[in-house]
Subunit: 457 residues, 2 copies
């Protein structure tokens, strides 16, 4: 076969990029589990008719058929049961909760890390296959508000230790929005939300015109709505500014109190990497959100749009008898890493897990080198034996090209030494006790606005 | 939506089963990385025409089309570029090596853990979507033999610590088979291999008839071939038995030496969970194997066939100018776990990651409980705060139903205590220093031939 070319929209990472992805995923998973979230994976396919109920992205679904199925049998089973690849992890979660609800414990806290597929036109940061990282809490009939604080706390903690560009999570609350709009006399709340949602893209004057022409909101009411949408703060001071606008409604009071709890609850987790900010202009387009809404921009990559979004929904799923409310946040890992990789901003300290290469003096001595490797491995040091008994210079280059920091030598007299090939320093060593430094044992990831070599070679 | 029903062939695990799967995957991944194997993931799709080159399972491929693509455009792009879901991880690896070869370091050691899809008729142990765990070593032009020993060592070590039914890896060597057959005068070696491959299913007399009728091998030659196929040993004694048959051929000598190295090289890693056995009847059907071949049966589940198979291939991929030989083994995780789950033989010690539930005396005290949880979490203890300030009995039942071992109480006077709800023992505790035992911190997995509760409740 000739050298294949890349398939647009289906990104694949090189091994060193995959290490970066693994470090991010390991960190997120450890955080989720430390908060008691269970992992699930759902099948990649859902019945097409279920996926299309939400309606909005039907064009983008990939439909399956078995190669040798008959023409009118697109699922491989029977007409009407066509299967498509899931385009998010929320529709599958809803179906999973309905299907397995009798075996789940509620509130059900789960995280889910899986690929999803959308047949969109590919461009940077928009792919046809990409990895999503979701957390959700689902309960039966009612869901306590504190879970809306918790999911923001969990994501804050997951991101806190990651060397990514600063992430800024903007939060708002549908009760607050609806209460405020009702308080100024708006009748069609969703219509006003749709207009305000354009604030990022068009000038305020245009928004004012749209409020007048499309939803008949003018004068003082329009002033109040625009003043409200302009409020943003990284602490609870936003609440005073809302109150100062003089609008009153019971739902507004509830929404204010809820949003203050989200902002205050995440304040202790704030860092230079991740912050949570009340921003009263954001609404998230999706109609099913009913409480807190979340979206997240990445510093320097605001053009990507939100990389981590979600909200509270009163009816994630219902089977008629039982309704399952939930709150969740979804992080788009592939679309976050892709632009960072293509700019060379994020890299691993080496391209392989290996920390030590054990040199082989000649093929007859391979077993001795295997023994050293086994001893190091038993103490948690990732180690390879040199694939060939080439000249030592070539074996050192084998390590150097992969960024492996150490090469181990077994001398003919049975003595051992290990060389840090970054510094050239070589010391006697015992395979039963030697350890690399904690920083060298496993690859780490580095965010470097100006890519440079970490250490001179 | 009405309660959905399961989709045959697309198994989904409950959270406690997923914990079992995660423990297995974590163990395997840690082993692979400790041997220096890099993780890669390939896209789920491959061009259909590439996938069908190997020919044998074209019926089983799922083909994609975008829902709103025109009828003659099954890929969503253009006619002739149809995409299918990958049915294994070897075809994608070959394509990945050709596509990204310029950015890879050889020998390239990689592991890959991904779902694959086949439109087969589902039955127990045979699914339409399932998880495969592959390791391979790929080199350019030539691949040193010691890698054929290494992949068996890596799998031995990966399985050694896992509480699965005993796994028995049977190994053979194509050089040995071919050399022996040639040595007894066989002209069509593949044809004899195909006959001998039926030894598991039909009586020896039938094999003898087939050797005579299909490949014209009779008398002493047939006796020798059947004697050879009957040889099996868990140490290098098999070699003496082959030599005693009195057949000679240079390729036979090479194959014997190679197979002895695989058996001897894995002997130190043998345990009651995993053993490697030379078994001279196995050949693996696939034509492209050229050296060591591996297959694995699970004690009590021999009817599943091989759960972990592979071999050496001289041409995994070629772009005309360069040929990439390789050796690899693929473990079918879903088909191994599925039958164990359905028989209740394998379970986790609890259904969630959580080790401690912090009780909430009343909603006004939730913040104090959150503080305890944060302190425990900071020291690596997975912890949840009770979702409600219900009566303590109900909060304890919340933990008990999930198998969570500890419940933490914050008294009105600020003192703390923790109760092991399995024993009922409650002791004073400090959130800044208390730790669960190592056995309780994270869920463990248990293989229980006769399912019983681990500890009385």
């Amino acid at each position: 076969m000739a050298r294949p070319t890349a398939l647009s929209g289906f990104p694949e990472w090189l091994p060193e990029q995959r290490i970066v992805e693994q470090v991010v995923l390991d960190r997120m998973r450890a955080t989720f589990e430390s908060w008691g979230y269970s992992s699930i994976e759902t099948r990649a396919v859902e019945p097409l008719e279920q996926m299309l109920r939400k309606g909005e992205i039907d064009k983008e679904v990939y439909v399956l058929r078995r190669l040798h199925a008959s023409d009118d049998d697109s699922s491989g089973e029977s007409p009407g049961s066509a299967l498509g690849l899931h385009f998010d992890l929320t529709v599958p979660l809803a179906r999973y909760v309905l299907e397995h609800g009798g075996h789940l414990h509620f509130p059900f806290k789960r995280y889910q890390i899986q690929k999803v597929w959308r047949g969109e036109r590919p461009q940077e940061g928009r792919y046809r296959e990409f990895l999503q990282v979701d957390i959700d809490v689902i309960d039966v009939d009612t869901l306590a508000f504190h879970h809306e604080v918790e999911v923001a706390q969990v994501m804050s903690e997951a991101f806190a230790g990651l060397p990514l560009p600063a992430l800024r999570m903007q939060v708002n609350n549908r009760h607050l929005i609806e209460g405020f709009y009702r308080g100024v006399g708006v009748l069609d709340v969703p219509a006003v939300m749709r207009v305000i949602d354009k604030l990022d893209k068009v000038p305020e004057d245009t928004i004012r015109d749209l409020l007048a022409s499309e939803v008949a909101v003018t004068g003082a009411a329009a002033d109040l709505i625009l003043a409200f949408a302009g409020i943003s703060a990284d602490d609870s001071s936003f609440a005073d500014r809302v109150v100062a606008l003089g609008v009153s409604d019971p739902l507004l009071d509830q929404g204010l109190e809820e949003l203050v709890r989200v902002v205050d609850g995440t304040a202790p987790l704030r860092s230079d990497r991740f912050s949570v900010v009340a921003d009263l202009r954001i609404a998230r387009g999706l109609d099913y959100y009913t409480g807190t809404v979340y979206e997240t921009s990445m510093a320097g990559f605001e053009w990507l749009g939100s990389v981590c979004s979600g909200g509270r929904y009163d009816a994630l799923a219902t089977d008629g008898a039982t309704t399952y409310p939930g709150v969740g946040i979804s992080f788009g890992l592939t679309r976050t890493l892709g632009p960072l990789f293509s700019r060379g901003l994020l890299r691993a300290t080496r391209s392989v897990p290996t920390c030590v290469v054990v040199a082989v003096a000649d093929e007859g001595q391979r077993q001795a080198s295997d023994g050293v490797a086994a001893a190091l491995r038993a103490r948690g040091v990732p180690v390879e034996v040199s694939p060939s008994a080439a000249k030592f210079g070539k074996q050192i280059r084998y390590a150097d090209r992969r960024g492996i920091p150490f090469v181990w030598f077994v001398d003919a007299d049975g003595s051992h030494s290990v060389k840090d090939i970054r510094t050239g320093v070589q010391v006697d060593a015992d395979p039963g006790s030697w350890s690399p430094g904690d920083l060298d044992r496993h690859p780490r990831i580095l965010f470097e606005p100006e890519p440079t070599k970490e250490t001179p070679r």
